[in-house]
């Protein structure tokens, strides 16, 4: 059994250290801004100067999670990131093309994807298992699955999260990717969680399972049915499907597909970044934990939420959460 004991998210919603953020959800528009905390409360000012947005977000969310979960230090730090540290990568690349002679190495050191998890371990003085997964839209699910493996092995409490940052260049680049189907604003975000194998009085929800298919060529609905069956459940047991609204995944299609189950796009509330499913997991946790039923047709109680992360019908991530009393 896996339990989510703490969540922390930096997004467009003012979600950071704000208990009531799901009551004030706003659709992300081209003009809306990422709402960031005062990072000085989490990082020493001298260190902060060197840190790009993605590292700042990762450290702030991690420290917030640890505080919420009332633990000293997690038994593992696992991060998923789709494109890693773009600011430092671009900075170093730019420097190599423009600076004659010796180039400062900091941006290079901070350009690798594992900088986020590494800087978190440094900030927490944590010598435990430390891992970074990067596989496009499934990076967060793989971090989460790794966390579940850790809990199946010998660990009790793991910090699992994701972070991605957008740089101006990406808006240009995305036009040349097959990303034309992305309808939501390209942006940044980070969400971290404390996942444990033990329930305590801080536990918010139960994480039942997480599963990915890297190169799907079958009907996603069949995958979902078999994923639920593996967990002795069927679609009738799901009260809400939280999905990312990309390309062919239009609301009306998904609605028809899952009818009569309620569906909701998490991506409208966080914008697009490769690991935004972690935002979806935080949203799902809040809905289940606060018994928020306004998203559900007929205001039925909500016990189970399926997170359905589908990119181009090829990369599919499925995550299943359950309310504690269910």
């Amino acid at each position: 059994m896996y339990y989510i004991n703490a969540c922390s998210t930096i997004s467009h919603q003012g979600s950071f250290q704000n208990e009531s953020w799901i009551n004030e959800l706003k659709i992300v528009t081209n003009n809306s801004k990422l709402i960031t905390p005062n990072y000085k409360e989490f990082v020493d000012a001298a260190d902060l100067r060197r840190m790009s947005k993605i590292i700042r977000m990762g450290i702030a969310c991690s420290k917030d999670c640890i505080q919420q979960a009332e633990i000293d230090n997690p038994d593992a730090i696992i991060v998923g990131t789709g494109l890693g540290c773009l600011t430092d990568t671009e900075k170093f690349l730019h420097n190599t093309l423009t600076i004659e002679g010796l180039i400062p190495p900091t941006a290079f050191i901070q350009s690798t994807h594992n900088t986020i998890a590494g800087q978190i371990s440094l900030a927490l003085k944590n010598h435990q298992y430390n891992m970074t997964h990067t596989q496009n839209s499934l990076s967060f699910e793989h971090a989460l699955m790794d966390g579940m493996l850790c809990l199946d092995e010998e660990k009790d409490t793991v910090l699992v999260g994701s972070a991605d940052e957008n740089i101006a260049l990406m808006d240009e680049l995305s036009k040349s990717f097959n990303w034309s189907e992305i309808e939501n604003k390209l942006t940044s975000g980070a969400s971290f969680f404390i996942v444990s194998n033990a329930k305590n009085n801080l536990t918010k929800v139960q994480l039942i399972d997480c599963f990915t298919v890297g190169l799907n060529d079958t009907n996603p609905k069949a995958l979902i049915t078999s994923f639920l069956a593996k967990n002795n459940l069927s679609l009738n047991d799901i009260d809400l499907v939280l999905f990312n609204s990309n390309g062919t995944l239009k609301l009306d299609i998904i609605q028809k597909e899952f009818n009569p189950i309620s569906v909701l796009s998490y991506e409208h509330f966080c914008g697009y970044y490769f690991t935004n499913v972690a935002f979806g997991m935080h949203l799902a946790t809040e809905i289940l934990n606060k018994k928020k039923t306004s998203f559900i047709t007929n205001n039925k109680p909500v016990h189970r939420i399926l997170l359905y992360n589908n990119f181009n019908n090829k990369n599919i991530g499925l995550t299943l959460l359950q309310a504690l009393e269910a």
Binding site: L83, P104, T115, S121, L149, S176
Partner: protein, 397 residues
């Protein structure tokens, strides 16, 4: 817990394009480090490199693949994956089973084409295939498409320890029952971005690297790829078993963004965890394939860590003196070399060593030694951001 065996291996590096060529170089003590010919950079004149001895177009024509826009990183990966699959005799059905996971590793990805990437990005002109390759997982998705992989496809980037962690992840997926087979390893090609980076850090040696030598003055960058086929005991049948994965440990040094602590916290913790999981006492380890980058910081720290755990040093070498530091590929390449030692029951000399580092006064393996009794081998990989990993393999019983 299920036993996990290695049933296939594939490698391409500066000392050969397949297992046989790599083994032969190790046996002869012949390095692959020298002047880079295929690298299109002024750096080719300034530093030696462990370059794969095939041009990008030769790599492509050796493989029978229709896919477009393949980078050197991709082609190295394809080459090693193909060899590993052949050696393991995996059927197309086994490869495409949803129970076959693919866990890869890369730090550079399509960044081996940084110039094209950045100029493309700024002008949004041609070669868009290469722009798409920026992501470090691009190579894995291309391999997945080619082999019609249906299971978990994951990519790890923990800098220089990436592919050792990929082996660890695949092993854990099998042990937990989430997969029955896994194709695991890593790939990195030489690229200006990383050369510029290590040059900025001032840790590139002007001469072929001298691991564990008192007068070492930095690393030599290399390129390559290696992949292993891991299979659960339930499905290996009567296959040839190359090794068993016995232990693995991962720890963060949590000391500095790009160097290891003098006390070797992370190094010691990773090796200790690997021994604990393998339920082996340090004395059982017959040989360590070290991380041995030949930087001032790494070699001293690694010797400190080994001393803390082992007291007396087991036989050790750094095969980076043959291949250069192949970054994300290094852990998998060095695991394949460790498998050679297990299989052949022999040890290969560490090259370019003259003077031991005080106060350790330890000599790496200096001669090709046959007819050894080797049952357990440890492989170490450490990376930027404090990522330390250690793997223990053993002769399959």
């Amino acid at each position: 817990m299920k036993h996990v065996f290695v049933t296939g291996i594939g490698v391409i590096s500066a000392i050969g394009n397949n297992c046989e060529e790599n083994l032969s170089h190790l046996q002869k003590g012949k390095t692959g480090i020298g002047k880079a010919i295929h690298l299109d950079s002024n750096y080719a004149k300034l530093f030696p490199f462990g370059e794969v001895k095939l041009s990008t177009s030769a790599l492509k024509s050796n493989l029978n693949i229709a896919q477009k826009g393949l980078t050197r990183t991709d082609l190295l990966a394809f080459t090693a994956v193909q060899e590993a699959i052949q050696k393991a005799n995996l059927t197309a059905q086994e490869i495409s089973s949803e129970n076959t996971a693919f866990i890869s590793a890369s730090t550079i990805g399509g960044m081996c084409l940084t110039d094209q990437l950045y100029q493309d990005a700024n002008s949004i002109s041609k070669s868009k295939e290469y722009v798409k390759s920026y992501s470090v997982s691009a190579h894995a998705l291309k391999i997945a498409e080619n082999y019609q992989l249906k299971g978990t496809i994951d990519v790890i980037n923990t800098a220089c320890s990436s592919s050792l962690n990929a082996i660890m992840m695949g092993t854990r997926l099998i042990k937990s029952g989430r997969a029955t087979r896994a194709i695991v390893g890593g790939t990195d090609a030489l690229g200006k971005f990383t050369i510029n980076g290590f040059n900025a850090l001032q840790i590139l040696s002007k001469n072929p690297c001298k691991p564990f030598d008192k007068y070492r003055d930095g690393l030599t960058l290399g390129e390559g790829a290696a992949y292993l086929i891991l299979e659960s005991e339930e499905v290996v049948g009567k296959k040839n078993l190359y090794a068993e994965i016995l232990g693995y440990g991962n720890s963060n040094d949590a000391f500095h963004p790009s160097s290891l602590s003098e006390e070797a916290f992370g190094v010691v913790a990773a090796m200790n965890k690997a021994l604990k999981r393998a339920t082996l006492s340090p004395q059982k380890i017959n040989y360590i394939n070290t991380h041995g980058t030949a930087t001032e910081n790494n070699d001293t720290t690694e010797l400190t860590g080994i001393k803390k755990i082992f007291g007396n040093y087991p036989a050790f070498n750094s095969t980076k003196s043959y291949t250069g530091h192949t970054l994300a590929a290094s852990g998998a390449i060095e695991t394949v070399f460790s498998i050679f030692s297990l299989q052949q029951q022999e040890l290969y000399p560490s090259l370019n060593f003259e003077t031991p580092i005080s106060p350790f006064n330890q000599l790496p393996i200096l001669k090709y030694q046959q007819h050894q009794n080797i049952n357990y081998v440890m492989t170490n990989s450490f990376g930027f951001a404090g990522n330390c990993s250690s793997l223990i393999i053993g002769k399959p019983l």
